[in-house]
């Protein structure tokens, strides 16, 4: 026993170490070169006839940079676009259109970094995007075109819109007005906040760069997808702003050398979300506008609207990299290219310079700057300035680094084309970042995870005799570890769990039928759980392949005036929880009355009517506050879900101040937990030694936990908890053995995770409820709330699984202490007798479970099975990441999966599977 505990502890300690070691090797911290770039000698001065440190004259001295969040290419360029003015500029040759390829992760902060520094942000930025206050993520000390423009003589910047920019560039802006994207239901206010500054800023001439970041279009996408009826009006609104700014550039003297850039930071998929690497998400529009551009576009074919390139969905015009914006802006505005840039000057603009030597100079500065990064990455290779003209080399070398070195040497004695070729090759090589893995660490991490698997394997409950359910558990684990190596299965992981759960529940039905046949088999508990499972899996459509397909949440059932249906379900969920809480409080009243002289011990007095009534009155404010909070939050967050509800009521609720209400809910839950715990402790102390409690406190904690989870769940998902509750009830009727319960727990935790709308994509992380009750930004609290809101389903079923394991709170929760010896033996009671005997047997089984091995044996067996699962899943994700580290999808599919595996392994396994379940199991024995 002691050896097992030791091995289990060791196996559990190895998991976080393995994860951390692996993570440091997998997401290496990318060092960046500090300081601002300056023009330096190119070394070819005498050959080309340049003056030392001379710079080709820049055509522009002012920049208006307009970012429209999630402006996908087709929103601007396609036939159905709502931006006719931009299209007319393209036709007239005053605008140069591109599709700017955004690399994954397609979320705002890393994209802004890419646009401004020209570098390819490391995946670490995803985590930093959530921990926004983190100072390492600011660009204050990095070289960007903003810093370059600010460093210029009379350099002043102004910024309006998304406050991500203010966080990235603290104290950069002369004037600013940041808007936060807290409620995505806000389509108009966020944008009006930006637009109202535009007219007056266009009259000011003290700035040389104005940055605007509009969020409304992204919000519409998140709410209702790219085909929302609000989408076209929003595009028209943006088009009008472009028209205003463009006509100011045409008419105002001080703006005549202004370059106007309109771009999206990322696109959106068919569901309106972003973060992954679907074509829609990675294809934002990029338009450069100025009357002066007619010099460049002169004789070109100018067409708009157009259709995307053959075989692609969103590739309009030429595809450039998003990072190309940085060197292009630097060249056009006459500042040095930012130091960490990996972008390539967009060659269409070379037409601004008539002298070929100016063009070469421009590109060569860009190329030299990139070469410095390449040199730092491949220090062993020779990038020396070989000036002797050699024979043209065939640059096909075995290693990418050598290939680059060779291409660089070609640059030194060749033309524009060779320079561009080198830069493009360098960009491609450097953005794959494959060379940055710390492979030994990856291997150490994976081997630690594997040794945890081996250790936990020895702590498993007896493997013999081989039982079908034990076999099924192992089968799930084995299949899962294989699936982790296929990108499609990682993206569509929910399918695996839905599939395995259906089969498992059907197996439970078959296995129960082997023991006794239920005449009405359609109503068999296992079949009922299966039916519920079928409904639950359709609640939220998740995954990549069918993102945005029909599901229950998006059906008209809950929308508009029908939303009363949703709120009826939400209301009943809250009433159910409140009602169950009142039972616990009633018991606590009885417990305290018992102390004050009135003799009420354990037993039927739990449901003593006056107490129940008093308790319900006492708990009602808590339940009602929680419900009002949900209503108020939804009014602001998702007004389309509150259509059928009285306007005045909603206005009153929305005016309450959500932070305070949320705090009241959490405070009330804490207070109730304390009260009930004290009462149950008194009851447990008052009981005779040999009488066991019913584990009422465990059930009470479970119900309070449910209320927390409800508070952290979006309104449209709350009815799921009613279904979860029913599943729990039917499962408790099945009287499963411990291994089956662990299997069920595992399957349902995973199923509920995906059913609540999560997937293995960064875009599925829901941030909306993670600020409940918090007014400022606090990494720890927001992190906890974020975890609870996204892992709400798994947390629920972990607790439910422990209750089932301990035999609490289900259909057979109240112990009857049936004395079989006193039973009558007459014919007409024989059937009843058999029934009672069966129940007595089941009670004995549960009883034995609780007392075995000091009461913790069953729990530790559950934990060792779950540890095996966590170890195997973590190890297989790690192995997949090692084996497939050169894979095309490593940054889009496998790295996000590893981030999720980290959260499962560190957050879920430790805090929930061990911490929370240990707590519930412990108090269940009071």
């Amino acid at each position: 026993m002691a050896v097992r505990t030791f091995l289990l502890t060791l196996a559990n300690l190895l998991i976080p170490i393995a994860i951390l070691v692996f993570a440091t090797g997998f997401f290496p911290y990318k060092p960046f070169m500090p300081g601002l770039a300056e023009y330096d000698d190119l070394g070819w001065e005498h050959q080309m006839g340049w003056n030392n440190k001379s710079v080709a004259d820049a055509p522009f001295d002012r920049l208006v940079f307009m970012v429209v969040d999630a402006l996908r290419s087709d929103f601007v360029y396609s036939q159905g676009s709502g931006m006719p003015f931009v299209q007319s500029l393209i036709r007239e040759g005053y605008a140069l259109p591109f599709t700017a390829h955004a690399t994954s992760p397609t979320i705002t902060m890393p994209r802004v970094k890419a646009i401004t520094t020209g570098s390819i942000p490391s995946f670490l930025d995803v985590i930093l995007n959530f921990a926004e206050s983190d100072t390492t993520s600011t660009l204050a000390t990095q070289d960007t075109w903003l810093a370059q423009l600010k460093a210029k003589e009379n350099g002043r910047l102004v910024m309006y819109g998304d406050d991500t920019w203010l966080k990235l560039f603290p104290d950069f802006f002369e004037r600013n007005d940041g808007t936060s994207s807290f409620f995505v239901s806000d389509f108009t206010e966020v944008d009006n906040n930006v637009t109202r500054h535009v007219p007056e800023e266009l009259l000011n001439d003290d700035w040389n760069a104005m940055i605007m970041h509009y969020l409304g279009l992204d919000h519409i996408g998140h709410k209702a997808g790219p085909n929302s009826p609000n989408m076209l009006p929003k595009q028209k609104e943006m088009d009008d702003i472009v028209r205003d700014i463009y006509s100011a550039i045409e008419n105002e003297d001080h703006l005549q050398n202004t370059l106007f850039v309109l771009c999206g930071d990322h696109g959106m998929n068919e569901g309106g979300n972003h973060g992954g690497s679907a074509p829609g998400e990675t294809s934002p529009a990029l338009v450069f506008m100025s009357p002066k551009l007619s010099k460049v576009t002169g004789s070109w074919e100018k067409k708009s609207p157009v259709s995307p390139k053959e075989g692609t969905e969103f590739e309009y015009y030429r595809l450039v990299e998003q990072s190309d914006v940085a060197p292009t802006l630097a060249g056009l505005l006459g500042v040095p290219v930012p130091k960490n840039n990996l972008g390539v000057f967009i060659k269409e603009f070379l037409g601004f310079w008539d002298d070929e030597r100016d063009r070469i100079q421009l590109l060569l500065r860009n190329a030299r700057q990139i070469k410095r990064i390449v040199e730092a990455t491949f220090p062993s290779l020779d990038f020396g300035d070989v000036t002797t003209r050699e024979e043209e080399k065939d640059c096909v070398s075995p290693s990418t680094g050598q290939d680059l070195a060779c291409k660089w040497q070609a640059v030194l004695h060749s033309d524009l084309f060779k320079i561009l070729q080198f830069m493009q090759a360098a960009q491609e090589t450097m953005s794959s970042t494959a060379s940055n893995y710390d492979v030994p660490r990856l291997i150490i991490g994976a081997s630690l995870a594997l040794s945890s698997v081996v250790l936990s394997f020895f702590t498993l409950p007896a493997l013999r005799p081989v039982s079908p359910h034990g076999l099924y558990y192992m089968l799930i684990l084995a299949l899962y570890s294989i699936l982790m190596f296929a990108s499609s299965y990682v993206e569509e992981e929910h399918n695996f769990w839905y599939w395995a759960t259906s089969a498992w529940l059907f197996y439970l039905f078959v296995s129960a039928s082997r023991k006794e046949w239920t005449s009405n088999f359609i109503l068999h508990p296992a079949i009922m759980v299966l039916v519920l499972h079928r409904i639950i899996r359709r609640w939220n459509q998740t995954g990549q392949k069918f993102a945005g397909a029909d599901d229950i949440v998006h059906s008209p059932l809950f929308r508009g005036s029908y939303s009363i249906v949703l709120w009826a379900l939400v209301g009943s969920t809250y009433i159910d929880v409140t009602n169950r809480l009142s039972r616990h409080v009633a018991r606590s009243i009885a417990a305290f009355e018992g102390l004050s002289g009135v003799s009420l011990g354990d037993g039927p007095y739990d449901d003593f009517d006056p107490n129940r009534f008093m308790a319900f009155i006492a708990v009602l404010p808590l339940g009602a506050t929680a419900f009002v909070f949900k209503l108020g939050f939804t009014t602001l967050d998702a007004p389309e879900l509150t259509g059928g509800i009285n306007r005045d009521l909603l206005n009153w609720v929305a005016g309450l101040g959500l932070v305070g209400v949320a705090r009241m809910v959490f405070g009330g839950i804490g207070l109730s937990a304390f009260w009930i715990a004290v009462a149950e402790w008194k009851r447990a102390k008052g009981r005779r030694k040999n009488v066991d409690g019913n584990g009422d406190l465990a059930v009470a904690l479970f119900d309070l936990l449910t209320l927390i989870l409800l508070t952290q769940t979006k309104a449209q998902n709350i009815p799921l908890y009613l279904l979860f509750r029913l599943q729990f009830f039917f499962l408790s009727m099945l009287n499963l053995d411990p291994v089956s319960l662990t299997t069920t727990t595992l399957l349902l935790t995973q199923t509920s995770f995906f059913a609540l709308g999560n997937s293995n994509a960064i875009s599925s992380i829901d941030l909306s409820t993670s600020y409940n009750g918090i007014s400022g930004y606090n990494v720890t609290l927001v992190g906890i709330l974020l975890f609870v809101s996204n892992w709400a389903g798994p947390i629920y079923f972990t607790a439910a699984g422990i209750l089932l394991l301990g035999g609490h709170g289900g259909a057979q929760s109240t112990r009857r202490h049936i004395a079989t010896s006193e039973l009558d033996d007459r014919d007409w009671v024989r059937e009843e007798r058999a029934h009672l005997e069966r129940m007595a047997r089941q009670e004995r089984v549960v009883e034995e479970r609780k007392t075995k091995g000091g009461g913790w044996k069953v729990w530790s067996e559950h934990v060792s099975l779950m540890t095996l699962w966590t170890g195997i899943s973590t190890a297989s994700v790690m192995l997949a990441c090692i084996v497939l580290r050169q894979h095309l999808f490593i940054w889009t599919v496998f790295s996000p999966k590893f981030l999720f595996a980290m959260a499962w392994g560190l957050g879920f396994h430790f805090v929930v599977t061990i911490g929370l379940s240990g707590l519930i199991w412990g108090v269940g024995r009071w």
Binding site: A486, S488, Y489, E491, E492, N495, F496, Y498, W499, S502, A503, F506, V510, S513, R514, E516, W517, T518, S519, N520, F521, L523, L530, V531, R534, R537, R538, G543, K545, D550, A834
Partner: protein
């Protein structure tokens, strides 16, 4: 919910089911090996049209499949009520005083004893088993608002493949069917075929997430 207990406590303990043997004649022994090949080649032949247009393809395949299955059960399997398969070849034991049965003509007995049960099991599979299996498919995740014809045809195919032989040999005895659900029947050619068809349908869902 009332429950009846199988085994142990109930008043009438049932004899454990015995495996079904094939008919003891050469045609049966030969055809039982040809049948899977025929069924498989039917699907292989129809595969392009099923992929091109699932509803039409599956509907068209259903008719030859039903003929193949009816022929198979009639040729190879002992019909329900004939006792265990091995008994059919042996001389009939008569109890004292029992009337000697009128032995029907060979063709007539063939029709009465085989063709009619075969068609009855086809009918039952279509009317009862196919909807039941379709419901099960929906329960396992088949779409509920769209693709009704697809799901129904899938259910019908599984029913024809797995249920026709089972109905033919076991009839509609409730207890036997309960045993079939509870995996208590002995694993013979018929029952094994059904288990194979059903678990094959389950395993067939594996490639769904793939996008090639």
């Amino acid at each position: 919910m009332s429950t009846t207990v199988i085994g142990g406590a109930p008043a009438k303990p049932r004899a454990p089911a015995t495996p079904i043997d094939l008919l003891n004649n050469d045609t049966a022994k030969l055809y039982t090996h040809m049948h899977p090949i025929l069924v498989l080649s039917l699907y292989a032949y129809q595969f392009p049209s099923i992929v091109a247009d699932p509803v039409t393809g599956l509907t068209k395949t259903l008719i030859p499949l039903s003929i193949l299955q009816v022929v198979y059960v009639a040729l190879c399997l002992p019909p329900t009520g004939s006792g265990s398969g091995s008994a059919s070849g042996q001389p009939e034991k008569r109890k004292p005083g029992e009337k000697k049965k009128v032995v029907p003509g060979k063709v007539e007995s063939g029709i009465n004893g085989k063709i009619i049960p075969a068609f009855l099991s086809l009918l039952l599979s279509t009317v009862v088993a196919a909807p039941l299996l379709t419901t099960t498919l929906v329960l396992f995740g088949a779409p509920i608002t769209t693709h009704h014809a697809h799901t129904l045809l899938c259910g019908a195919h599984i029913a024809f493949l797995s249920i026709i032989p089972l109905v033919y040999v076991h009839g509609v005895d409730g207890a036997t069917w309960r045993e079939a659900v509870a995996l208590l029947l002995p694993l013979d050619e018929v029952y094994g075929g059904m288990l194979g068809a059903v678990s094959g349908a389950w395993l067939g869902a594996i490639p769904i997430p793939l996008d090639w």
